[in-house]
Structures are given as structure tokens and as C-alpha cells.
Amino acid sequence: MNLNSLANSLDTLGHYGLVISTDEAMILTNSLLLLQTESHSCNIFFWGKIYGAGNDYYIAFGYVKDAIKGKIYYYSTDCMDWGLLPKPTEAAKSLLPLCTTKFEGNPRTIIDVLIDQEDSSLGMKFDKPTVRKLKEEDRLSATVHSISNEATIVPRGALFLRTDGVIVENKSFEGLSPLDSQELASYLHYSPPQRKWNTNLLTRADYNYALDFLDTIDMDLPEGCWTVQIRGAGSISIVSSLYWPGLALYHIIGTPNYGCVYFGDGKKSLDLPFMLNPL
């Protein structure tokens, strides 16, 4: 979420029930501007908040050149002092689904992850229930990266693939049209594309590789794992993920204003297939 839009989140994210309070917005805007200058980032965004039992984590990211490949994440527990979020380790990534506790709020906490005897998700066999140690900072990093890869999104056209292969924010983005904004195909994953480069081009009539180089969310499984709601009498669209409850994108239709945030406890809702109605 852009720093300029933090201040009036009530009228945008408020439709989803999330608000960044005046207090937080002021501190975030200013401390992130300092961070941007220190890190020489081209642009910096507020990513969201992960609730902990004792303390909450604020997450931000910025990039120097490339808006997708060059993302660098920062975290803070008080909105003021920002630290670099480490790259997720393989161990943390694989242990993440097994963590059932809440975040504590202290990055130095070491948590015990119990691996069941029959658990085969780690690709190893265990003779007896095993306990693995995981540092909360690593867990946070793995969580943030998996949310970013699976669930952060942008409206189509907001990012632009330059001819030299660098992804930049599209300065000529004029927003989605009222009809397009109701379609899931108009929202793209804000992460390196996983599908074949021409998947999008083959499905669209008005394709343009400079805009359609990312994966659309309408092909995500199971069908119905994203919802689009047009709120505010047709002025704003809210796209929310059901896999990651708490993740929402707002887009003021017909304007370049959009923002994607995650406010939640960092737990993926794997129960989704049970919760949806058969189509």
C-alpha cells in the first residue's frame, strides 16, 4: 500500500473492516520515508500487519530497481525502528505449515514445532514424534514470503514490463473500468509468474505482454478462493483472499489508486475447501 494512501484508509480499506489509525498512519508514513532514504529504495510500501499475542509486527517492502524481483522486506514491532527481514530459510518454509501457535511478538523467541510420527510433509521419516526449533524471525519471514507469493495482488495494468525486462510501476495506469473491475481476470499476482509466459495472452482478447506478464488470479484453485465485491455504490472494488483471511486489495475504480494489505495472524486457512459451496 502506497504511503500516500495510508492516511485515508478509512474510506478505502474500511469497506473490508480494516483501518490504519491516524496515529499509525502518521508514524508509518514518516518512518518509512526515512527507511526509503536510508535504503535508497525507488519506492516503499506498507505491506501489512501480523498480529502476535504480545506484540504486533508491521511489515513494509521496497525496491530499488525492479518492482517484483527486487522486493526487499522490512519489519518492525513498534512502527518506528525497521529491521531487514531475512530471506526465508528452507527449514522455516517447510516447518511453517506445522506451526499452530500464534506469533509471540518477539522475533528472538524460539518456538518448538512438533512433527508427528506419521507426518510426511517434510519428506523425511521419523521414528518418533520429533521437536524442531524455529526462530520466530524465520517463521515471520517464511510467512510473509508465502503470503506475498500466494496472495498479494495488483490490478491489471498497474505494473509494466519494460522492454529491457525490468518491471516498473505503470505511470500511465488509469485504473480498471467498472466492468473489468468485477472480473477476477483483471487482478494479477504480485509475484514472479509461475505459469507459462503466454497463458495470459491466449486467454485475453486485448492482450498486451507489457501488462499481462503476471499470473491472473482467476485460475487459482479451488475456484472461489478469491472474492470481488464492488462497494461504495460502485466506486471501489475490494478483492479478498479466502486462503489468507485478512488479505485485501482495494482499487478505486477508474483511478490509479489501489493498495493491498494483509492484517491477520499469519495463518493460512486450509479449511477453505470445506467452507465453499459446491458450484
Binding site: 489509525s21 491516524t22 501457535t101 479466502l242 495472524d265
Partner: protein
């Protein structure tokens, strides 16, 4: 160079023809660019001048990187028809529907209540704009205009419904539409068996729909299932175990569960003694006392606002132990009721003590005769069980910089989306904005299907067993020989029995 002698006028130019004629070249280039495309009829010259015109008038930054984009947009605009064949048909703007719905709310109330006694409902705690400010500071909320419209529509509702007090309960997010939920206390004369009723609507300006009352069975099943709300009250709930009712019933059940779990107040705000009670309250008390007779330990089921309430200091409210916050709604027992109801009563009272639920038809097979006891009313939150090492509540201060004006925000971890804030203990409000599901640490597992039932009881009659050998049969026959002297009869009987055995 070979020149034609016939072309006399050009002989003079021969010397200069080596040099390119700028004008001519420009004309040639222009002519080339003005060639119309055989597909679209456009030409490059006009297109470029249009693009340059657009760029120069808009003066965008770093335009060279997005030049193709600009060019494409200009082309796209050309496709739009200039002539509107549907000129006579007026298409209203998208916002029209909402404007139409919301306009009646702005009209001044025309028929004011005649006497003071007719004053409709307690709206003192519903200054939505003030609440909206507090919500915002707590990090949640609705857009300001929605809050205002909500207040207006609540004012409209209390004119038509017999409610004694009303409150904004929260918002449930659905897949296609969301529910705004109001909680209301019915007036005494209407309130026969029920404490609270809930009104929902999808969009502010729509009619408020009163939700049907919940049954204990619905509550019990709601605990075993997990289903997203769609936004349509009549939506069928397809789950196992089968939910008795549609989405409206499910919504009501979840609201009851959320209320029971997360409606909290600062310590001392409510008390068991009626704070200057009128006659009705006493009667109510008596009625309850009668109803509760013979039901084991007497549980207090009602609490009243404490007139001599003094807010606890902010530091105490912020205490992580949560002992300065109490539940003011009764816990729902595993049975699905707030007070124990004996499924096999010796004396048929025919009525429940606590009036929240309606009579339920089904037989209480699962509930044992041992009365289930929940925590009493006004139990501090510190007594809440933590689920799988997840502490039940987290408490935050809305501002670390200005603690003297800050709000205390309590967030439920068991019901993500449930909040309670208080301004230094004075004003407090419980609000729920979320999907309406409880936190599960381990992932949700649907109930396993029951074992395949048997047609008949397993017993020796239907068990397969080895046939007796000839020797055994002979032995049996000899053992069962009648001891009486008449030998013929005995033999006959024996034969008969043998036949039976074989058969």
C-alpha cells in the same frame, strides 16, 4: 547521370538535383505516412500527431518508457463510436440505486412520538460518528458515510420495531455480500422468552431483516461445521453433520456464539444488583427464580448496569492478565444452551429457565444427566481457557505516544475480528468485523461419518459356526435321550430334533 534532353525546364536544376530537395523529401515522407492502412483506414501521420498531442498536453513523466502504452490508448479511443444510437435511452449512473435507497433516510422524522413515554428506543450509545472515530483509532471500522447512514437507518428501524434498546453489533463478511448486524433488546411486553434479537441487512438502506431465533441443536451443529457466509439469508447450508436450517439460522447461531464468547465489559460496569430497578425488573427476577427451581446450583443469568461504576485505571485495563475485563453474556454450554436443561426431567416443567432459546423438538440423546456448568456471569477474562496454547485475548493501547488520550483495545484471538475498545474505561463498545469463524489451531476436520449400522443385533442366532460332526450329533442325541421308559417317543423326539439341527 543521363538526362533527357526533352526535359528542358529541369536542365537548370541538374546541378542541384544531386542535393536532396528537403521540401520534396518531406512531402514524400508525409505522403508515405499518410498512406491509409488497408485494415483500419488509419494513417501513421494522424496517429503520431495525435499521440504527440496527447503527450504534450498531459506531459507525463518518463514518457518514453510508456510510449507504446500511450500509442495503444490513442488507438483504442478511436474504436469508440462517435454516434450514440441509443441516445434516447438514459442509463442512470451506477450510484443511482444507492442514492434512491438512501434518500428516504435523510428526510426529517415527520411523526414525532406524542408523549415522552413513547420515546422509542435507547439510542444513547449509538452516536455512530463518535464511535466511528473510536473504531478508527482502534484499527477497524467502516467508512464514515456508511456509519452515518447506519445511524439513520437504525433510527428508522426503531420506529417500526418494538425494541427497547439497539446497538451496532458488527459486520459479517460474506463471499458475495456482507451482513450488517444490529443487536436489539425487545420491549418488556414483547420479550416473552427472548433476550436479544438481531437484525441484518446487506446494504445500508435495505430493509432490516430480523433473524430467526436459534435452537440449541443449531448451536451444537454450528460448532461442528465451518462454512463461509454467502450473503443470501436463504442459502442452503450443505454440510455434514446436516445443519438444521438455512444461512439465516447459521448466521444467528454464529452471532450467538460470538456474542457469548466475546461480549466483554470493564470490571464493575455491570453488577448483579439491579441499579435502582423498577417493578418490572424485580418481577423478572422472581420469574427467573421460579424457573430455576430444582435445577441445582442457582446461576445468575442477568446483570444490570452499575450506577456507581468507576472505571478501572487504564493501566489495569491494559494488564495482560485480563482480570479487569469480564464477560457479561453467559457461556453457551456444550448442550447448546446458556443454562442447563435436564433432558429427562422428573417433573415436567415444560419451560426453560433461561429464555434465550426456543423450545426444541429433538430428543437430547447425547446429553448426560450430569448438569453442565459453565463459568458464571461476570467472570474475568483471565479465567478463559486458552485454546492450544493460544492466549484467548490480546490487549493493545491505540497510541503509545499519547497514552493519556489513548484507547484500550482488546482483541479476541479465538474469534478473529472481535474487538472491544474503551476510552479510559468510560465508553466501551464491542464490535465484530470478520468472517464469522472461530480460530482453529489445528485445521478443521469434519466429523467422521458414523460406522455402518447393523440391520439386526449380533447374537448366536445369526452367527456362522461350524457344523457339528456326526459324532457330536450322535452324542447330543444320546445326551438328550428321555429318561422316561417309553423308548418309542424318545426316539421320535430325537429324530425331530436332529432334523431341526440339520435344517
Amino acid at each position: 547521370m543521363i538526362c533527357d534532353d526533352d526535359e528542358e525546364p529541369q536542365t537548370e536544376d541538374n546541378s542541384s538535383s544531386n542535393l536532396p530537395d528537403t521540401e520534396k523529401e518531406v512531402t514524400a515522407a508525409k505522403l508515405f505516412m499518410q498512406q491509409c492502412s488497408s485494415f483500419t483506414g488509419d494513417n501513421l501521420y494522424d496517429h503520431l500527431s495525435e499521440v504527440l498531442n496527447k503527450i504534450l498536453s498531459e506531459r507525463p513523466e518518463d514518457v518514453v518508457d510508456f510510449f507504446e502504452e500511450y500509442s495503444r490508448k490513442v488507438k483504442e479511443k478511436r474504436f469508440k463510436t462517435k454516434i450514440d444510437h441509443l441516445e434516447d435511452m438514459f442509463i442512470p449512473p451506477e450510484q443511482y440505486n444507492r442514492a434512491y435507497k438512501i434518500m428516504p433516510l435523510f428526510k426529517k422524522p415527520d411523526n414525532l412520538p406524542e408523549s415522552e413515554e413513547e420515546i422509542l428506543a435507547d439510542m444513547t450509545r449509538n452516536d455512530m460518528l463518535q464511535l466511528s472515530y473510536f473504531f478508527e483509532q482502534s484499527g477497524l471500522g467502516l467508512p464514515k458515510n456508511e456509519m452515518f447512514a447506519l445511524l439513520l437507518s437504525m433510527r428508522k428501524l426503531i420506529k417500526t420495531e418494538p425494541v427497547a434498546s439497539i446497538r451496532f453489533w458488527g459486520k459479517i463478511l460474506g463471499l458475495y455480500k456482507n451482513y450488517f448486524v444490529l443487536e436489539a433488546d425487545l420491549k418488556e411486553e414483547e420479550c416473552v422468552r427472548r433476550n436479544e434479537v438481531y437484525y441484518v441487512c446487506n446494504e445500508i438502506g435495505d430493509e432490516w431483516v430480523q433473524l430467526p431465533d436459534v435452537t440449541p441443536r443449531q448451536l451444537r451443529v454450528a460448532r461442528q461445521i465451518r462454512k463461509s457466509f454467502t450473503g443470501w439469508l436463504a442459502q442452503e447450508i450443505l454440510t455434514y453433520p446436516n445443519f438444521p436450517g438455512n444461512e439465516g439460522n447459521y448466521l444467528r447461531a454464529q452471532i450467538a456464539r460470538i456474542s457469548a464468547g466475546t461480549q466483554i465489559s470493564p470490571l464493575g460496569f455491570y453488577t448483579f444488583k439491579p441499579g435502582g430497578g423498577g417493578g418490572e425488573e424485580e418481577e423478572e427476577e422472581e420469574e427467573e427464580a421460579e424457573g430455576e427451581e430444582g435445577e441445582g446450583p442457582r446461576m445468575k443469568t442477568n446483570c444490570f448496569e452499575n450506577r456507581r461504576y468507576e472505571p478501572p485505571p487504564t493501566g489495569d485495563l491494559l494488564d495482560n492478565s485480563m482480570s479487569f475485563w469480564v464477560h457479561h453474556i453467559l457461556h453457551i454450554l456444550p448442550q447448546g444452551r446458556t443454562s442447563w436443561w435436564n433432558p429427562n426431567p422428573k417433573v415436567d416443567t415444560g419451560e426453560e429457565a433461561e429464555g434465550e432459546e426456543e423450545e426444541d423438538e429433538e430428543k437430547q440423546a447425547a446429553a448426560g444427566p450430569e448438569p453442565e456448568i459453565g463459568p458464571p456471569l461476570l467472570t474475568p477474562l483471565s479465567e478463559d481457557a486458552s485454546l492450544d496454547a493460544v492466549p484467548a485475548w490480546s490487549v493493545r493501547i491505540s497510541s503509545n505516544i499519547l497514552p493519556e488520550y489513548a484507547l484500550v483495545v482488546v482483541r479476541s484471538n479465538l474469534w478473529p475480528g472481535a474487538y472491544c475498545f474503551t476510552t479510559q474505561g468510560k465508553i466501551f463498545h464491542n464490535l465484530y468485523i470478520g468472517f464469522g469463524h472461530k480460530h482453529v489451531a489445528q485445521n478443521f476436520t469434519p466429523l467422521p461419518l458414523p460406522f455402518v449400522e447393523q440391520d439386526y443385533l449380533i447374537g448366536p442366532e445369526i452367527m456362522e459356526m461350524t457344523d457339528p460332526t456326526g459324532a457330536e450329533e450322535e452324542q447330543w442325541r444320546i445326551d438328550h435321550l428321555p429318561k422316561l421308559p417309553p423308548a418309542e417317543e424318545g426316539e421320535e423326539e430325537g429324530e425331530l430334533e436332529e432334523e431341526e439341527e440339520e435344517y
